[in-house]
Amino acid sequence: MSGRELSYLQAFNEAMHQLMAEDDDVFVAGEDVAGKGGVFGSFVGLLDEFGERRMIDTPISEQAIVGLGIGAAVAGLRPVVDLMFMDFVLVSMDQIANQAAKLKYMFGGNASLPMTITTNGGAGLSAAAQHSQSLEAMLCHVPGLKVVMPATPYDCKGLMAASVREDNPVIFVKHKRMFGVKGEVPEELYEVPLGQAAITREGSDVTVIAYSRMASEALAAAATLADEGVDCEVIDLRTVQPLDIETIVASARKTNRIVVVHEAVRFGGLGAEIAAQIQEHAFDHLDAPVARVGAPFSPIPFSPALETAYVPSAERIAAEIRATMHRPAPGVTV
């Protein structure tokens, strides 16, 4: 099947078709998921194939949508519940973080929550402050949740399969600006296991750690740096919770210089956790501080002129890589 190309969105959609076909316990509930097939078309065709019993258009009720998923999961189904925009996790945060995340633990293990929450994150569409956020750091701070953020069509399909088959609550975040990105995708259903990062470019000088759309920006920056004689290793985390810290630390020990990149606000973003862990686990290996690229400390502006300046880009990543490379190794005085 090599060479078969699908878009990121098609890959997701194909995963949904196959997952629903293999397991009658899988259903989808959310706003405009059935008739419309999702705001961005993620669920197109599923109503025709699986009918109204399994494709449910709900009222605008993000708390009840997530709660529906929790209750149905506890009762034995395998729900996929959709929040149109990642910003809306803030509307249903109680159900996500106080209920779904904690239920199994609070109940002493006597519950299983095979629920996947799908949503669309990221900026770049001039959708302004309430429709563009990357809020994964909040979710990763809540024990009990898993958080998946695919960066390629291949992963979008394979990670979705793993998420839906997983017995824990998973938040699966597509990136709004990647729907049209194409890539090789096998026809049969396969899993990309949660918690395993991918080294998408091997290199020896510096490691760039990213996920979601920034994983491709990181590759673009690495290409630029290659022309400048800097050999970047690029890691695509794929799953941000669980975090594949082994892969990260191994690479840090190899290259000794690290740049962590995400679209989310830099302050308190996942990059902070990654930087903190790297210096914990590879302190003696670091030739420079772990650098972080993220959004500045402001809400997301509407105007393209401002949004472009706001969202991290290959150029900004490249600049940070250069700064990290130019930093003299410890002991070398300038």
Partner: protein, 340 residues
């Protein structure tokens, strides 16, 4: 038509079981043997008992912060309950949940909840699963008058109605949310008026009368099981103790007279009087039943008392269903492995 004597006895038994369990829990709390918060169900027994006698085993119930009564009524194991309230390893949640998270999924009791209104969407989800599976099972959600002011309640009630789900909404209107009288937080006379906002049929019932609650539940369940969508039952009731803990009289937000007045309509007193009057049971039989339940409660105290505390080594168990992932995300666990 008088009720089946077996049902009356069952109602009585469940109510006494709640009352004795709660009174014991209250005394242990007072004696500092019970950590955390405790919200006693005493006074409201007719609601949990009346509803649960009308249910089938497979029907689910979901509860609130005031959740002991619902679990006892559904047949909860008093040993495991008492042990959980004391934070013991032998408790329902191995001591991890406590009073506000007590549950028994085998009995289809989907859990108490520490977030007011937080359990309502989850109950609706269980109702969805019932409809999805095409069975006749009903999901019953208990909630207080105060919780109907929170958004999650509203969304869940509307969702149940819009999707025509088999959910029975049981509002326990005890007149207060913590220390605030109901009238102050909603400009309506009966909570049941809210059902109209969802196109849900509703009924108001005397929540101090277990038989009335039972009968109202039975008839509500007919339409719910028939797939006609959710139903809203408002039970007017009262909690004898303070919102939290064991104080009873002398509270600033309600009069002692009010408390006494409601106690004068005590559901257990009433049903016992009626049992004897109707010849359902003799006074001696009633007394024997009470004694055997008290023995069960006493045994539960002994069980809990003599149970061990949980082992801190189990602290990180059951965060996830797979041990692997919960280790993988624990940076502390990773520490030892990869620390250079």
């Amino acid at each position: 038509m008088p009720l089946d004597p077996e049902i009356v006895k069952d109602l009585h038994r469940r109510m006494v079981r709640i009352r004795f369990f709660e009174e014991a829990a209250g005394r242990l709390f007072e004696a500092n043997k019970m950590p955390g918060f405790i919200h006693l169900y005493v006074g409201q027994e007719a609601v949990a008992a009346g509803v649960s006698v009308a249910l089938r085993d497979e029907d689910q119930i979901s509860s609130t912060h005031r959740g002991h009564g619902h679990l006892v009524a559904k047949g909860g194991d008093l040993n495991k309950m008492m042990a959980e309230l004391m934070g013991k390893a032998t408790g329902y949640c191995n001591g991890k949940g406590g009073s506000m998270h007590i549950c028994d999924l085998e009995l289809n009791m989907l859990g108490a909840n520490g977030i007011v209104g937080g359990g309502v969407p989850i109950a609706v989800g269980a109702g969805f699963a019932n409809k999805y599976s095409g069975n006749e099972t009903v999901s019953v959600v208990f909630f207080g008058d105060g919780s109907t002011n929170i958004g999650a309640f509203h969304e869940a009630a509307n969702m149940a109605a819009a999707l025509k789900l088999p959910v029975l909404f049981v509002c326990e209107n005890n007149g207060y949310a913590e220390y605030t009288p109901r009238e102050q937080s909603m400009a309506i006379k009966d909570v049941a008026e809210r059902a109209g906002a969802y196109g849900m049929p509703s009924k108001i019932v005397d929540g101090m009368d277990a038989m009335a609650v039972f009968e109202a539940t039975e008839s509500a369940l007919v339409s719910v099981r028939a797939g006609e969508g959710p139903y809203f039952l408002e039970c007017k009731t009262y909690r004898y103790y303070n919102h939290h803990g064991i104080q009873n009289l002398g509270l600033s937000y309600r009069t002692d007279e009010e408390v006494e007045e409601w106690k004068g309509r005590d559901a257990i007193d009433a049903i016992e009087a009626r049992m004897v009057a109707d010849g359902v049971a003799s006074e001696a039989e009633v007394e024997a039943n009470r004694a055997s339940i008290q023995a069960e409660v006493d045994e539960a105290i002994d069980f809990a008392d003599s149970s061990p505390m949980p082992d801190p080594a189990d602290l990180l168990d059951n965060v996830y269903s797979d041990a692997v992932s919960s280790d993988a995300v624990s940076s502390d666990a990773v520490n030892s492995e990869v620390r250079s």
